[in-house]
């Protein structure tokens, strides 16, 4: 992957979309943030170019949620999984109590920051837009965010929902094993995700009779009109 030439900020809408994506991941019982959640996050934020393009082509919130459920049934995406807190409770470790003590000792965000650092040690470098880096569950859409950052920088803009969608679509062109480090592969398996094969976003788009390129062209057209 080409390095990002300079740091780039995210717009408020992109931040809202990623927060909604986190909520969507929790609703599904997933302990990672994947491209499929980010796609739903864009639709949940709603008031953005990406969502308008998706809805215009028939990929509204309900449709995409149904497609995600379908991918879960097919085993492409995992069903609900026990959280770290639930797993540690089986050993008698109260994760909430541990968090409480660490926050009291080291400050409120110390635990999350340390969790992020430990994670970064074991995964490929990813572009963290400011609002995406505050949750400890692993970010499995780093490649999409990377492409999104390039799309924004090329246009001399902040990373908005439309760049995130271009990132998701660009990432989905390639199978999930593309640019996947061995640690990331292990993490995917641990999370119950396939470590090879077509990306869930691609399956989702194509099962609806669309192509990734078709969607991407629609986003680019809208972007160019707005300039």
């Amino acid at each position: 992957m080409e390095p990002i030439p300079r740091p780039v900020d995210a717009t408020k809408a992109a931040g809202t979309a990623s927060a909604r994506a986190r909520m969507e991941a929790r609703r599904l019982g997933h302990h990672y943030l994947g491209a499929e959640h980010l796609l739903l996050g864009l639709l949940l934020e709603g008031d953005n170019l990406a969502a308008r393009v998706l809805v215009a082509l028939g990929l509204d919130l309900e449709t995409v949620r149904a497609e995600v459920d379908h991918l879960i049934d097919q085993g492409v995406l995992p069903g609900p999984q026990p959280s770290d807190g639930e797993l540690l409770a089986t050993l008698g470790v109260d994760l909430k109590a541990v968090h409480g003590r660490l926050q009291a000792t080291f400050g409120e965000h110390a635990y999350w920051e340390a969790a992020q650092r430990v994670r970064r040690r074991s995964t490929q470098p990813v572009t963290h837009t400011p609002h995406i880096s505050t949750d400890p569950s692993p970010l499995l859409c780093g490649r999409a965010l990377h492409i999104a950052a390039h799309e924004a920088i090329t246009r001399d803009q902040e990373v908005g929902p439309e760049h995130l969608l271009l990132g998701l679509l660009g990432d989905a062109e390639d199978p999930v094993e593309t640019d996947l480090a061995p640690q990331d592969r292990r993490q995917r398996v641990l999370l119950g995700l396939p470590d090879h094969g077509p990306s869930p976003v691609r399956l989702l788009v194509e099962s609806h009779g669309l192509t990734l390129d078709q969607l991407r062209r629609a986003v680019r057209e809208e972007l160019d009109q707005g300039q």
Binding site: P82, T90, L102, Y111, A115, V118
Partner: protein
């Protein structure tokens, strides 16, 4: 430890012989351990402890602890 959450109680009961949950619990504990270590090493460095002193308390070599925590600490200060 007593647990009142019914879902957790069910998991705990199942985990005694279920490798799926048992192994996942080990992985979760390892993750927690890594974070605790990162927090404590950072704190020790902030308090002026040497890598050698930190390594001896963790029961590992100086090289091991430096390799794991050193470069990242520097990156963090740079931000």
């Amino acid at each position: 430890m007593e647990t009142t959450d019914p879902e957790v109680a069910t998991l705990a009961a199942a985990s005694s012989r279920d490798p799926e949950l048992g192994l996942r619990a080990v992985a979760a504990l390892r993750g927690l351990l890594e974070v605790l270590e990162a927090l404590q090493v950072d704190n020790a460095r902030t308090n002026g402890w040497s890598w050698q002193d930190i390594a001896s308390r963790l029961g590992v070599t100086k090289q091991a602890v430096h390799q794991k925590h050193g470069p990242r600490s520097r990156t963090r200060q740079g931000r």
